[in-house]
Symmetry: C2
Subunit: 198 residues, 2 copies
């Protein structure tokens, strides 16, 4: 059930109004379902605010997010809320003209673009989908990520999803949710189902 | 990272194709964020499949879901995916003509309508948002819910959200995810933020 009363009022010299527009960094991690799905659900709220949304999918296969992608593209084009830009690593990133050598190079290119967009305040709401993995694999330095997020201008909200979120990131994040797998149909031998898994 | 290979193949006499259209019952529970948000994210996939979607909000205040509601209404009206019907207990349910005495009565009315819709196969994808609470409070009998879900016709997927999901329900569900609160801005004294919390 929603609740609106904080347990304590911080001694940070900010007004409630100022605190309401502070940029949020959220991390959805853990082995359970719903990490990306909840991030795209949050994007619906951002869209409803009329905010420009940037999605960066740090995954090779895009099949699993096609429902969310189509829905957000239709919303972004509806003219009734914010715009939506959807960038897919698996398709070589839209801003990169040449082929890329490796997933590592592609992930790094993705992060460079996120940095440029944060500096330019291109979007108001970012989904960095499965971005924990390039950090987990050591391709992108988590301390640099935290430093860039910490210094980002304006009120840009960032949601990062994926397993194995590193401690410097979860320490820095305002909102961390761990999705725990309690039970999954694949445990019972079912394959992924249309409309559910993608 | 997505994966498509089940650990074992069930000895249920069904083909993979049959198993792919089995109705899924999913429960998002636990104290963390993202239970409803992930359910609405799943609804994007259902919408993308062209499925009729029915949302039943078993909550009094609708403020917190207005972004998702507007987004799903726009999607439902876009003609590019499935339709969306959004029913709110806080506004007295659309199909009820008279005033209701209490939240308990309203919750029971909601469940009666869900039963009628399941029997009629009105929707292909149901979000029963915060439906765990009427069960938790003893207003709706969890054994009856399980029995109705078990016997529902066709391939109707049902997602139930909320804390305190009862064991007969999680035992029956195919997919159970527990959202664990690791860190939340309200712990640091921040109030709910526009575009993030609603």
């Amino acid at each position: 059930m929603p609740k609106g009363v904080p347990e304590s009022v911080p001694d940070d010299g900010l007004t409630t109004r100022q605190r309401r527009t502070l940029p949020i960094t959220a991390v959805h991690t853990g082995p359970g379902k719903g990490k990306s799905t909840a991030a795209f659900g949050m994007a619906l709220r951002a869209w409803n605010q009329g905010w420009p949304i940037g999605v960066f999918q740090f995954v090779k296969s895009a099949k699993w997010k096609v429902g969310e992608e189509n829905a957000l593209r239709v919303l972004g084009a509806s003219g009734e809320g914010g715009t939506v830009a959807w960038h897919k690593m698996g398709e070589g990133w839209s801003w990169v003209q040449r082929g890329m050598e490796s997933s590592e190079e592609a992930a790094k290119e993705g992060w460079e673009q996120v940095k440029r967009d944060l500096a330019a305040e291109t979007y108001r709401f970012y989904v960095l989908d499965e971005f924990t993995y390039p950090m987990h694999w050591g391709w992108v330095d988590v301390d640099e990520v935290v430093s860039v997020l910490k210094d980002r201008p304006g009120s840009q909200h960032v949601v990062i999803t994926g397993r194995y979120a590193k401690e410097p990131l979860t320490d820095f994040a305002d909102l961390v949710t761990e999705m725990t797998k309690v039970k999954h149909p694949m445990d019972a031998g079912r394959k992924g189902q249309r409309g559910i898994e993608w």
